[in-house]
Structure formats: structure tokens, C-alpha cells
Symmetry: C2
Subunit: 316 residues, 2 copies
């Protein structure tokens, strides 16, 4: 029997990534199309289906199922977005069933971070743990949970909002409107803001960040830190401290085997992992905190890969 192939469609606010994946999570083919949400969901379905067919033509075979991952509050039972600040025109449209009809095959739909968590579980951890959380680090901080070996999505598909757990109640304002969320300390904007603040508050302190033109970005702050810049290193320690608080709460609540940190900003993992591990070492709860392993993910496109893998699980 031919091995199954899943097609993952990871819908972001700007680009949609399409991946063909085998059941072990190997990437077979990848492409990208603009999402263009303002052109509406029907036009998007036509464009996405076309892109899937092109990818399959290049690959030389069709996928057996298609899985959507989307940024926002996904109704995974109903196959639509309830709330999606970056994909407003798609809200309430039956994306899953429309794509299923356009491609004439079964389709699933989940939140993008939940899809990435499943991708991380299969690809990075080889299904070798029972309970894990993934933290996705990018513009926002997302998350997903695999509990007892299954994707845990909660009662309405909204579980895993790790980025909005309160690490410093009443603290920094978050994009969600609340204060003190993990994302307000470890999201892309928060990292840049922390660096800018240190530079402004300590005008006499040397840092190679001062010489960089334009708006800073996390990659530049990571490069400076890796090159030994003390101010930049302090920024990442702060990121690690906030992540450590979030990870401790996750572990005390869920007694996990592993926490996997993924996404673009996670590439700087070596700069903040130590702080998370210190928080775990210092916890008096030896059994859960001593057991859990924190890892930085090394696979790109986990959202698209995980969405494709979930379509093969036959989940709706």
C-alpha cells in the first residue's frame, strides 16, 4: 500500500503555506500563496485549491486529506474561524467544508498553534512522550497541548492560549487588551520594546545595538547577544524569565514530559533556555519540575506540517 500523504494549509494574515507531508512528518513539497483576506474567503478557497493542485502536480501524486491551520479562534468541530483579527473577512465562513468540496477529499481544521504543537509532537518528539506543550514564538506567543498522546483543544477548540496567561498581572499592556500576558514579555514587539527601553534608560551603557539603523528586530538583538553584547543578553534573560514563569505554571498544572519552544523567535533559544531551566531547577516541586524537558524546535513550517499530519489523523 502506498503511504498516505497529508496536505497542510497554514493560513496566516499575509501568506498561506502549503505543505505535503507523510505520516512521519517528512516534508515532501512546500509552496506559498498570498492570503489576501480582503478579497474574501471564496476567492481564497479557489486560490488555495489551485495552489494545492500545482503542488500535487509537481509532487506527482495527490494528497489523501487536507488539513487547515488558521491563526485565530478556530471552531474545529464546525471548521470555521470564530474570531481572527488578521483574517476578519474569513470569520464564520465554512473554510474547511469549502476546501473539502473544492479538492474532493476529507478536510480538518484547527488553530495554527495547535497544528504546530501536533507537528512538534510527531516530528520533534517522535510521539515519544505522553504529555507536552508547544509554545510558538513569533509576533504573538501561541501554544498547543498534546495530552495523553492526543491534541487537546478544550471545549470549543480554544485551548492553549499560553501567550495570554498572566505572568506579571497588572504589568505590560498586551495587544489583546489585558495586562501582564506572557506575550507582552516574550512576543516580537515586547522583545524590541525591552531593548529600546534599556537603551533609553541607560544612555551611557555601551551596546552594539546603538549602531544599528532603523527599528530593531529580535534577530538583530539575538545576534548582538550571541556576540557578547551585555545589554542584548539582558533582554533575552528577561524573555527567559517570563517564559520560565509560564513554563512553571504549565508544568505544575499539567505535569508534562516536555515543553517544545518553536517559531521564528525560538531560534534564539540558546539565549533564554538557561533561564527557563533555572526556574524549573529552583521549583520545590521536584517530581513534575525535575521530569520535564524543555527543547527548542528545529523544524520550519511546523504549522503547515502539523495541519497536514492532523488531516491524516482523521480528526474533525
Amino acid at each position: 500500500m502506498k503511504r498516505a500523504v497529508g496536505i497542510g494549509v497554514d493560513i496566516g494574515g499575509t501568506f498561506t503555506k502549503i505543505a505535503a507531508v507523510d505520516p512521519r512528518g517528512r516534508l515532501l513539497a512546500l509552496s506559498e500563496v498570498p492570503t489576501d483576506p480582503q478579497k474574501g474567503p471564496k476567492a481564497f478557497i479557489v486560490r488555495a485549491a489551485e495552489a494545492v493542485r500545482s503542488l500535487e502536480h509537481a509532487l506527482g501524486r495527490k494528497g489523501d486529506a487536507v488539513g487547515i491551520g488558521a491563526a485565530g479562534d478556530v471552531d474545529s468541530a464546525g471548521g470555521r474561524l470564530r474570531f481572527a483579527p488578521n483574517l476578519r473577512p474569513f470569520e464564520e465562513f465554512p473554510l474547511r467544508d469549502a476546501l473539502s468540496r473544492a479538492l474532493r477529499r476529507p478536510a480538518t481544521m484547527h488553530n495554527d498553534a495547535n497544528s504546530a504543537a501536533w507537528g512538534g509532537f510527531v516530528i520533534e518528539l517522535k510521539r515519544g512522550v505522553r504529555n507536552m506543550a508547544a509554545i510558538t514564538m513569533g509576533t504573538g506567543i501561541g501554544g498547543g497541548l498534546v495530552l495523553d498522546g492526543r491534541l487537546y483543544e478544550g471545549s470549543t477548540g480554544s485551548a492553549g492560549e499560553i501567550g495570554h496567561m498572566k505572568v506579571f498581572p497588572g504589568g505590560e499592556r498586551c495587544g489583546c487588551g489585558s495586562k501582564g500576558c506572557l506575550e507582552a514579555y516574550a512576543g516580537r514587539h515586547a522583545i524590541v520594546r525591552a531593548a529600546e527601553r534599556l537603551l533609553a534608560e541607560q544612555p551611557g551603557r555601551k551596546s552594539r545595538l546603538r549602531a544599528l539603523p532603523g527599528k530593531l528586530d529580535p534577530r538583530e538583538i539575538a545576534e548582538a547577544a550571541s556576540a557578547g553584547d551585555a545589554l542584548a543578553r539582558e533582554v533575552w534573560r528577561g524573555v527567559g524569565h517570563a517564559l520560565g514563569l509560564g513554563v512553571i505554571d504549565l508544568v505544575l498544572l499539567l505535569n508534562l514530559d516536555a515543553v517544545l519552544i518553536v517559531g521564528g523567535v525560538a531560534r534564539a533559544g540558546a539565549l533564554f533556555l538557561g533561564e527557563i531551566e533555572r526556574a524549573l531547577r529552583e521549583s520545590p516541586f521536584r517530581t513534575p519540575c525535575g521530569r520535564v524537558r524543555v527543547r527548542i524546535g528545529r523544524t520550519d513550517n511546523l504549522g503547515a506540517l502539523g495541519a497536514g499530519l492532523l488531516s491524516l489523523e482523521g480528526r474533525r
Copy 2:
């Protein structure tokens, strides 16, 4: 066919409660024996087995299985306590298998808060939700999770340590050794400390708590608040604020249908429930926070009842 009967044995630091329960959670008989941990685990097993037989004699029938709930870090797969500050002499002793042999029937063993969570799921919520958390309020703050209709215990049986999630990092010192845990704001000692602090800091402020002899306790502070005492009401609002922060984190992470607050101190629920509901109303995450219902449990002895119910689930 006769309905099954489970025997729950809830081992606390001072007393052990024994309950006979039917599969719907109805209490059929209840008794209590001193735990006397210093006399050692073997003597305890003899005493507990004797008490179970007396209870069964009074009830007129034997239980089909026996379930232990115990305060501490329970190895539920191995049927023993790994770490238990109030039951030190019982640590690492195979309590479950010893009681199973003494009573010649199957036995299960879980953490006491996990047992209470299961009891609340069956008895208070009638198994009518998929995902719920129980928060047990007493000397300590414990917790347990029922996810997808099953008790979730994590990788080593240690899940549900809601009382030690950090609500104010770096804040009040907790009995566990960390700072800022929920228990340090909503546990019995924390509630008394908050009242004493307000009384000392505001010596001119009237409060009926000033007239009470000896050390305050949460019941007195609740009575004063119910009678309109503004200072006492402020204490409970603080408890509700801390609980609200914990509940928001639980709901963002786990997208629960219900949070059930149980235990002796939860009887004051009317004094703090409003603060929790306000936190949920104010959250920008409408889908999970709008859905969850927070309830105060009304059943006594949930730990013993839940342990008996879990023995009937045939879990080991």
C-alpha cells in the same frame, strides 16, 4: 444485578475519612479514624481495614473496590506516596497494594485533590461537562482536572497543582518555598494574614474582627463579611482577585466548561465569586471566558466520595 459500591479512603494528616458510595456518588455510609502517621503505615493499614469492615457491617454489604485519596505527591501508577509533608512515615510504602490485600479486593490510589475533582465531576456536575477543574480550598489550595471526561493526572500523577501556580511572581512567601503562589493569597493562613495586616495597617478603621478573641480564622472573617464588615469584605475581594487570576490562566490554557471550587473555605464562596466572574467578564478572550461556569461545590467529603468513585472506574 446489585449496584456496585465503592469504598473511598481519604487520608489526611490528622484524620482519615472512609465513605461508601454508589456509582452516582450518593453517600451510603461515612466514618472517620485517626491517621496517626507516626505509628507507621502497617499499623495504619490494619486500622483502616478494620474501619472499612465496621462501616460495611453497619451498611449491611461489602464494597466492590476500595480507592485511596491521599494528600501529597501520589504515584498513582505505583499506588504510593512519593512526597507528603503531612504523612512522612507513609512515603514510599505500597499503601494501595497493602490495603488491597488486607481487604481482598481491587484498590486504586490518587491524590486527594484529584479524587475530590472526580467527586465534583460526578456528583456536582453529574458528568454533564467535558472539561473541568476543581480548586480545593482549605489549609492549602489544591486542584484536579477532568479533561475529555477523564481524570487527568499528568505524566507522574502530579497534575493539578493549581495552588502553586504563580499569581503574583515575587509576591507573598508560600509554604512550598516559592513566592507568589495562589495558595499564598487564598489558602487559610493567607486569608487570616490578609485580615491581620489590614487591621494592623489601618488602626483607626472600624471592624468587628477587632473584638474577636484569639487568632482569627476564615470562618470568622466570612461571618463578619456576610454581616457587612467592610474590612472583612475587602479580605475576601483580595482572595477573589487572586483566584480570578488563577481561573483566567486555567481557562485560557484549557478552555474549560466549568470550574468547581470546593472545600471548607469555599463555603464563603458568595464573598469571592463575584471577583472571579468579573475577571472572566473583562477578559478579551470571549469564547473560552464567556463559556466557562464557575460554581461553588456543596458536597462535603468530596475527597472520600471521589476516591470511592474512582475505585469503581477500575483505574489503577
